[in-house]
């Protein structure tokens, strides 16, 4: 039996620190020109494209990312969906979106009953502190979602700074 390594621990953030850190991260995201950013509206549209405009029920989808990130270059991201994952009832797809990268789409992961668990783990780029949303398409055609707000900071002494 293999053990899952990536920690599910979520760091707690002191609200008074949050302001400062968000500010620090905001100053550090000049890698992407503001005009080239997606917006919350574009993310909503991308989600609509994925669901075909069908209603999305919140809940049952866990987006597991630490709230405070030490780098936006490679953010360990795990999505889990409540599902028995049997032939009658399973998750067909999990789509991940963000609201402030150049594009709102991150990835679409297609699962089958043979997946055993509604689970996917990857590493993503986040150009700024923002909301990350996962939408799951269930085998009955319904959609569910979950989201998390994360704060992106940068390592000290960034190259070329």
């Amino acid at each position: 039996m293999k053990t899952q390594i990536l920690s599910t621990q979520i760091s707690k953030t002191d609200p008074s620190r949050r302001t400062f850190l968000a500010g620090a991260a905001g100053a550090a995201v000049c890698v992407i020109a503001p005009s080239a950013r997606a917006t919350p509206e574009e993310m909503a549209q991308a989600i609509k494209d994925f669901t075909g405009g069908k209603p999305v029920r919140e809940g049952g989808v866990e987006v597991d990312i630490p709230v405070l990130l030490e780098s936006g270059h490679s953010v360990p991201t795990i999505v889990r969906v409540d599902s028995p994952m049997n032939a009658q009832n399973y998750v067909r797809a999990i789509a991940v979106f963000n609201e402030r990268n150049p594009q709102p789409n991150v990835g679409v992961f297609h699962l089958t009953p043979r997946s055993g668990r509604a689970f996917v783990s990857t590493r993503i780029r986040l150009g700024d502190s923002q909301k990350v949303v996962a939408v799951a398409q269930m085998s009955d055609g319904s959609f569910r979602s979950g989201s998390i707000d994360v704060i992106v900071t940068l390592p000290a002494c960034v190259e070329g700074a």
Binding site: V75, Q103, G107, H110, R114, G116, S121, T122, R125
Partner: protein, 106 residues
């Protein structure tokens, strides 16, 4: 050919849920990054990943530039029978790299 790192248990019990980890050496160039000359480096990403188990697609992914360099993907499968698990990564130019792993299910 790019280097791939795959972790599949060599043996599993029938019905056991196994975790697969895959990583491919690839820059996942976003197309949004300026080079030293100020021009944008052309986009070059892995946009499609497929995992088949005995010929049947059991997991796949459509990837966007927001996936980090050296794309890492981990997911689970039900160990149903001994056989070959195949992994393929396809880039923007349609070039596909295939890697296989064997699993013994008892």
């Amino acid at each position: 050919m790019a280097r791939a790192l795959i972790n599949v248990p060599a043996k599993a019990k029938k019905g056991e849920i196994i975790e697969i980890k895959t990583m491919l050496s690839h820059p996942m160039e976003t197309g949004f990054r300026p080079a030293a000359d100020g021009k944008l480096v052309p986009r070059n990403i892995i946009k499609r990943f497929v995992c088949t188990y005995d010929g049947e697609a059991v997991f796949s992914a459509d990837l966007f530039p927001a996936i980090s360099a050296n794309p890492f993907l981990s997911f689970t499968l039900v160990a149903t029978n001994s056989g070959v698990i195949t992994f393929s990564w396809t880039d923007d130019n349609g070039q596909t790299q295939v890697q296989t792993a064997k699993i013994e299910v008892a």
